[in-house]
């Protein structure tokens, strides 16, 4: 069997459509925002650009979650924690950029520290005024946490539901920790009131467009990385672990190493998603750590279709659009709808939207080939 070039192997039909849509978004949305008149029905207002950017950063989070859940069978109920940690790293950079323009006008300390009578910046805040360092931390902090947590958990073979429960406990503990004022990260209120990113005002139209495009690119790159991982030999082992962990182990694979790589990469992707989310939303606070958020991300993946990557991203965007619309129009109904979504998807749509569509196409193809085979057989007679 000859191996196809890796890039071709990565790019199946769904992937091509997905990347095509992303490319179109990256070009058309800024063009429409900048050049179409506001009266035009195709004009995308700036607030909508940020909203779309928010959905796409959620999509990246869903993609990260699908990598571990869909391909490795690790149902993480704590991915919101990695997302929020990335967000906090970015938020700290943005806080340092405020400089003396805070309400209290202190040259170094953020407002909440002045308010709490802190005398100097805690050590863990140092370096966050430099963007490359902050960007590194966006990857390093969630990555390191996932590495340590995953190493401990996978080594002792905590699997399935138990792993889900302790990831939930992890994000719960982090939420409690970040709610504390002593943590030096803004306590209840979190980090907000951002001014600049890389010298550009976060409120400006141009910055918002740039952030949106950056999110699209990050999502495309994230898709590339995830797709590369799951189509490589490594990915085959990952899927084998998902389907029969013990058997894979007995075949001589170090299961925990494979899982650890996937978990850590996924956490870093979630961190990037959080970092892109924060400047577009303008705030990061401890409620991002709440277990409910993480589990909501799981339903995005389930709706779109686990183990499809594209489906996860699609699910995140669809569910969040529905959420924005419902919480605006019928706020009472949103939790009913979300709850029903959880139930309906698990009971009737276990493969999600994309998975179900793919299955149907396969079936049609199978009947078609069967038909042609039948005709050929008849002709041969």
């Amino acid at each position: 069997m000859t191996r196809r070039p890796i890039l071709l192997a990565m790019l199946d039909g769904k992937g091509a459509i997905f990347l095509g849509v992303l490319a179109a978004l990256a070009v058309l949305v800024p063009l429409s925002n900048l050049f179409l008149p506001e009266t035009s029905p195709l004009h995308v207002p700036t607030y909508a650009v940020s909203l779309l950017g928010k959905y796409l950063s959620y999509a990246l989070l869903a993609l990260a979650l699908d990598l571990v859940w869909g391909y490795c069978g690790i149902l993480s109920l704590g991915h919101g924690a990695f997302f929020a940690l990335g967000g906090y790293a970015m938020g700290m950079y943005l806080m340092r950029q405020i400089g003396p323009r805070g309400v209290y006008g202190h040259p170094v300390l953020p407002d909440f520290m002045v308010f709490l009578n802190w005398q100097e910046l805690p050590w863990y805040w140092s370096g966050f005024d430099i963007f490359p360092f902050a960007a590194l931390m966006v990857l390093a902090v969630p990555g390191l946490l996932a590495l340590v947590f995953g190493w401990l958990a996978f080594r002792s073979r905590v699997t399935g539901v138990y792993l889900s429960i302790i990831t939930q406990a992890m994000t719960f503990a982090l939420m409690l920790a970040f709610f504390r004022n002593d943590m030096g990260l803004g306590g209840n209120n979190g980090l907000t009131d951002f001014k600049d990113i890389l010298g550009f005002s976060v409120q400006a139209q141009g910055t918002r467009l740039a952030l949106f495009v950056a999110t699209v690119i990050a999502l495309a790159l994230g898709y590339g990385v995830a797709r590369y991982m799951v189509t490589s030999t490594y990915g085959k082992v990952l899927i084998a672990i998902r389907d029969a962990e013990s058997r894979t182990r007995f075949l001589g694979y170090r299961v925990e190493h494979y899982k650890l790589v996937a978990f850590t990469v996924s956490a870093m992707m979630a961190g990037v998603a959080g970092a892109l989310y924060v400047p577009q939303v303008g705030i990061i606070n401890p409620s991002e750590f709440s277990p409910a958020n993480s589990i909501e991300a799981v339903v995005w993946v389930a709706v779109g279709g686990r183990g499809t990557l594209v489906g996860a991203a699609l699910g995140a965007v669809v569910v969040n659009m529905a959420k924005s619309w419902l919480t605006g129009a019928l706020p009472e109904l949103w939790l009913f709808a979300l709850g029903a979504l959880f139930i309906v998807v698990t009971l009737y749509l276990p493969k999600g939207i994309v998975g179900t569509l793919a299955e149907r196409r396969e079936k049609r193809k199978a009947t078609a080939t069967a038909k042609t085979a039948g005709i050929a057989a008849e002709a041969a007679e």
Binding site: I166, A169, M170, I295, L338
Partner: protein
Amino acid sequence: MSRLLCLILALACGLFAAPVCAAPADTGDALLLIASGRFPDIEKGVALLARSGDARTQAIIEALRDGRLAVAADKRVVIEGANGSWSEAATGEALAEAPPSPKAVRLNNRIRRAVEAALGALTLMAPDAAARRQAAEAVFRSRDATALATLDEAIAREEVAGIRRLMGEARAAILLGDAGASDLQKIEAVDILATRADQDALALLRAAAAQGSPTVREAAEGAITAVERRLAVLSMLQNVWYGLSLGSVLLLAAIGLAITFGVMGIINMAHGEMVMIGAYTTFVIQELARTHAPGLFDWTLPLAIPMAFLVAALVGVAIERGIIRHLYGRPLETLLATWGVSLILQQTVRSLFGPTNREVGAPSYMAGAFDLGGLTITYGRLWIIVFSFAVFSALIVALKATSFGLKIRAVTQNRRMAASMGIRTSWVDTMAFALGSGIAGVAGVALSQIDNVSPNLGQSYIVDSFMVVVFGGVGNLWGTLVSALTLGIANKFLEPFAGAVLGKILLLVFLILFIQKRPRGLFALRGRAVEA
């Protein structure tokens, strides 16, 4: 009322001729002194009044303090009451018409002090035991040396042992700070305070150790170590008690989960909502009792227990039949679907009862506290501990000694074998899930007494409950008991060092690490069931 009291006192005087009520003459003299208008005489008058023991004394001195005591032009001493009425100071009789040109008795700081001391000392001999107790405590805190004489007299007359001891402690506190007291008296005082053994006594002893003569200092230092040791033991006991109380709350919240998750292996994320439903059932029953039968209020909790069990169990049956049944063998999907159920239940309750906290009242037997060797024990906590142990025992009995329990255990150990023996496994599943849910509902009745009854009630317990069950070992009710109590007590012991939130975080981190070490919990099941 006060006149009746006066009559009784007067009778008592007549019978015993005790100095208590040798009063009226003294009161008259004192009032004359007060009416004189000269500060030193007024002060003497106050002191005389305080010693008189007359039942009117308190009213007169209070009026003096509040500036309501006045001297009329005809030298009568009168008291101004509310809305401009007047009464005779000596007798308390109301005056039909206002006295001629009354002038309020003036005070200076010396007199004010004397008034305060007199009032404090006065209540030391009040007929009401609670008032005497309070007065003794007030004297203990103020350590006013002028009260010493009254205190001695009060001690001599006190008949309630507890109050006499308190007075003795107050006396010791005064003597210890009094420069005039002899060393012998002080050492005696140190001994008395050492038996009191609380923070106040400790502060007094420390002060004495810092300044007294060498012998007093030595005695005080000895007493300080004794008191500190006792306090340490006491605070440890208090922590254990609070820990037990928290542990029993955890036990209540987790025990239903120990059935559904621990025994049946179902991840029920809506477990917290079953607790919430139980709490709201209690609320509804109390509301009904309030509007229809206020007399039954104390019975609402015993009534709520079976009702909450029924309501939560019915919801449990619906969930099991409608959803979980279709997801057996797919634990992660069960987790997601039941999370969806929990969201729907929360929003339903929010739509029905509103998003705010609902008030669930405490019946009379849940209120109050009593003292047990220095430990303050509230009835509410006591009842919850008793209740959670009762629920636990009932559950153990149900599982170990009934045929239904036998069937549950058979099905969870070997489903196919149980089915071959003629057990309707699907029926057992439903009933076991209903049992777990019902118990969660019963927990809600208890939690409604100590937590806010809001749609989010369940959310705050879900992580904790799972932690308790996993820590204790899945499939093991005794493990759940040990784990709930351990976690509760550990939490309370961490709190003083780390603060409430950090203590909880530390505990969660510990649990996460513990699960790495022993993924199957403290008391893991052994044998084939583990692989299932």
